[in-house]
Symmetry: C2
Subunit: 387 residues, 2 copies
C-alpha cells in the first residue's frame, strides 16, 4: 500500500506517517514546513525538541523502519499536487495540510486570506489532482468538529431528516461555524463532498475534535522521532497548555468560558482513527463522514483532571478561570462510526497521565513568554444568535 | 447618499449604478472589467453593443445625469478595497463583483481556483475593509439561489426550526450547492453572515435567481447607456438565450432537463430589489437574507412563453429539448421579504415581451458560433443523492 501524507511533518501528520510505515506501507510525506517556520519566527518552538524532517526520517530507517520519501513542496503551487500524485501513485492520500489555528486566521486580513488559500484553494487543487491523477485512491481528509458550531441539537455524522412546512427531506446537517478558521474548513469539506459525489471519488471526511497528547507508540521508539508539542495560545490545544501550566507553574488558567463543552481526542486515538478509515474505505462517490471524538467535558472539568493527575505526580496545582460561565446549549455529537470500525478510546485520565509523563523530561524548555502569551484581540466575539 | 457599486460595469451592476445616480446619489463604480475582456477574448461579445465604461459614464452626464466616478481596480489586490472605501467614504456598498458563471468555473482547475479567489477571497477583503474603513456602511451583497441546491423542502429566507432526536434549535437553512460556482457563493455568503454578526456590520444578502432582460428605465434613455446582453451558454442566462434563439432562428433548444424548475427575475425587478434593500437597511449585526425571485416555472414552460411572445411578433417558433425530464423534488422558495418592502413583480410575459422588443434592432449582431456554442463537458454531473 502506498500512502501519501499531505502535511506529514505536522503534529498529527508525522505520527500518522510513522504508523503506516510501521505497518509496512510505502509512505511519502509532502509538506511545506510552514508550521515549523511560523512557530520558529514567533519564537514559540515546540516544547519537545524535534529533529528536522530529514533527520527524523533518517532516524526512523536507522532503527529499522522502512524509508519514507519526503517532498518539500507547497500545495498552493499549481503543479504541486498533480506532480506528487503522478510520481508517487498513492493508494491512499491522507490530507492534513492546513493552517490549523483559529486565532492565527483571525489576527489580520492577510492571515485570514492565507488561511483560506491553504485550507480551501490548495485543497481544491488536491481534489482536482486526485480526480485526474489518482481517481481510485482513497482520500482521507481531516476536518474539524468546529465546522458545526454549537447547535442546540445533537450533531449527526451525516445528513439528517428535516421537516419544514409539511415537507420532509434528508439534508446536510445545518452547520454554523463560529470562526474564520472553522469556516475555511467547512467550506473545504463541502467542496470535497461535492467533488466526491460529482466525480466519483473515494472520500472519508474525519471531523476531528481538539487533539492532545505528546506522542504515539512509534514516536516514543527514539527521542529523535518525537512529534512537535505546542503550548502557546495560538497553536497549542488548551489541554496541552493545561499540562504544561500544571507541571511548570502549578497553576492552570482557563481563558474562555469554563463551562464550555470541550470535545477532545488523544493523539494515539486520532492516529488509530486514520488507520481505521484507511482499512475500511467507502465506495466511490459515496463519501463518509466520521467524528474523531472520544470525550466531551466542560473545560474546567478537563482542567481539574489535569490538576489531579499532576498532584498525583507531586505537584500542587490550582485552577483559575479568566472567563465567566456562558449559556451554551448542551453539546452532544454522534461519534459512533469509528467505534463501529473498531476504535476503543483511551480513557481520558490515562491519556492525560501519559502526556504528563512524556512532558516531564522537557520542562527545562518551557519559555515564560510562550506560556504567558495572550491572544491578540480577535475579530471574533462569541456568537450565540442565529440570524 | 454615497453608493459604491463593486462590479458596477456588469450586466446588473451598470443599471444599478445608473438607478442610484438617477435617484440623486453620488455613485462610484469599482470594476476590473474582467467580464468584458473574457467575453471579448472568447469572441462572444454582448449582443447589444455596449460602450466602454468611460464612454457610457460620459453619455450619462451628457444627457443630464450626475457624474459617476469610475475606479478600474481589482478587489483581489490587497490595497484595492481599503483604498476605495477610504477615498470614497460610502454609505452603501453594493457588492456584485463576482465570477458569475458556473460552467466557466467548472471548466478547469485554474478557472475553479480563480472563481474562489474572486468570489470568496476578494470578498473577504471587502468585508474586512468595510469593518475597518466604513463600519457604518450598509453592505448589500448579491448571492444566488443556487446556494441552496434543490432541497425537497421549501427554501426559507433565513434560519429554520430543526427537530432532531428530541431536541430543537433554530439553525441556518441546510444548503447543498450543486456546482463549484454555487459553492463559492455559499461560502462567501456564510463568511459575510459571520462577519456581520461578529463585527456588527449592516448586511443585506440578496440571493438572486437567474436574471433576464435587456435593459432598465435608465439604460433605455440613450443607446450609449445599454447594458451587456450575453447569449452564449457559459455566461448567458437560459431565458436570454431563448429570446435570441426565437428571434434569430425560430427554434428554441432546451439543453438540460425541460421539467426542471427555473427560478427567475427580470433585470428591472432585480434593480428595484437593490433599491428596496438600500432604502430599508437592517440593524448592525443583524444580517438580513432576501430572495430575489419573482417567478418559478419549468424550463419548458418558460421556453413556450418566449415562443408564444415571438409568434405574436410574427416569427414561427418551435421548442426542442435535448435533455430528458428528470425527477427533481418540487421547487418552492419563500420570497416574501422584498415584497413586504414594496416589490411589485413585473408579470413574466410582460418581461419577455419587453426583452424581445429591445433585442429586435440588434439581431444583425447575432453570431452563429456564439448561439451554437456547446458547454464543455463539465466535471459536474447532476446530483440527486445526499450523503
Amino acid at each position: 500500500m502506498r500512502v501519501l501524507v499531505l502535511g506529514g511533518d505536522g503534529y498529527l501528520g508525522w505520527p500518522i506517517a510513522l504508523r503506516f510505515s510501521a505497518r509496512g506501507a510505502q509512505v511519502c510525506i509532502l509538506d511545506n514546513l510552514a508550521r515549523r517556520r511560523r512557530q520558529h519566527v514567533a519564537m514559540r518552538d515546540s516544547l519537545i525538541s524535534i529533529c528536522s524532517a530529514e533527520e527524523r526520517i533518517s532516524a526512523w530507517t536507522e532503527i529499522g523502519g522502512a524509508p519514507i520519501r519526503l517532498v518539500r513542496d507547497d500545495l498552493t503551487r499549481p503543479g504541486c499536487a498533480p506532480q506528487a500524485l503522478r510520481s508517487f501513485g498513492p493508494d491512499v492520500v491522507v490530507h492534513l495540510a492546513a493552517q490549523a489555528s483559529a486565532p492565527w486566521a483571525a489576527a489580520s486580513v492577510e492571515q485570514a486570506v492565507a488561511t483560506f488559500e491553504v485550507n480551501m484553494l490548495a485543497s481544491l487543487r488536491v481534489l482536482w489532482a486526485v480526480m485526474e491523477m489518482a481517481p481510485h485512491a482513497h482520500l482521507v481528509k481531516l476536518g474539524t468538529m468546529g465546522e458545526y458550531g454549537r447547535p442546540g441539537i445533537d450533531i449527526a455524522e451525516g445528513p439528517i431528516i428535516v421537516d419544514h412546512r409539511g415537507r420532509r427531506d434528508r439534508l446536510p446537517f445545518p452547520q454554523r461555524p463560529r470562526s474564520l478558521y472553522d469556516l475555511s474548513k467547512r467550506h473545504d469539506a463541502d467542496n470535497a463532498l461535492f467533488a466526491a459525489e460529482a466525480w466519483g471519488l473515494r472520500l472519508t471526511l474525519l471531523r476531528q475534535s481538539a487533539v492532545f497528547g505528546a506522542g504515539t507508540a512509534e514516536t516514543r521508539r527514539d527521542p529523535r522521532l518525537a512529534t512537535r508539542f505546542d503550548y502557546d495560545p495560538v497553536f497549542g490545544a488548551s489541554l496541552n497548555r493545561f499540562c504544561v501550566q500544571a507541571l511548570a507553574r502549578g497553576r492552570i488558567t482557563i481563558d474562555g468560558d469554563p463551562s464550555a463543552a470541550y470535545p477532545i481526542i488523544g493523539l494515539d486515538d486520532a492516529v488509530r482513527c486514520v488507520e481505521l478509515a484507511v482499512d475500511n474505505p467507502p465506495s466511490p462517490g459515496r463519501p463518509r463522514i466520521c467524528h474523531q471524538l472520544t470525550d466531551v467535558r466542560p473545560l474546567e472539568d478537563v482542567a481539574r483532571l489535569v490538576a489531579d493527575a499532576a498532584r498525583e505526580r507531586g505537584s500542587a496545582v490550582t485552577v483559575h478561570c479568566r472567563g465567566k460561565p456562558g449559556s451554551e446549549p448542551q453539546y452532544a455529537a454522534d461519534a459512533s462510526a469509528l467505534r463501529r470500525l473498531g476504535l476503543t478510546p483511551t480513557p481520558l485520565p490515562a491519556g492525560i497521565a501519559s502526556t504528563l509523563d512524556t512532558l516531564v523530561p522537557h520542562l527545562d524548555r518551557v519559555r515564560d513568554h510562550v506560556l504567558d502569551a495572550q491572544l491578540l484581540p480577535a475579530h471574533e466575539p462569541d456568537l450565540t444568535r442565529v440570524t
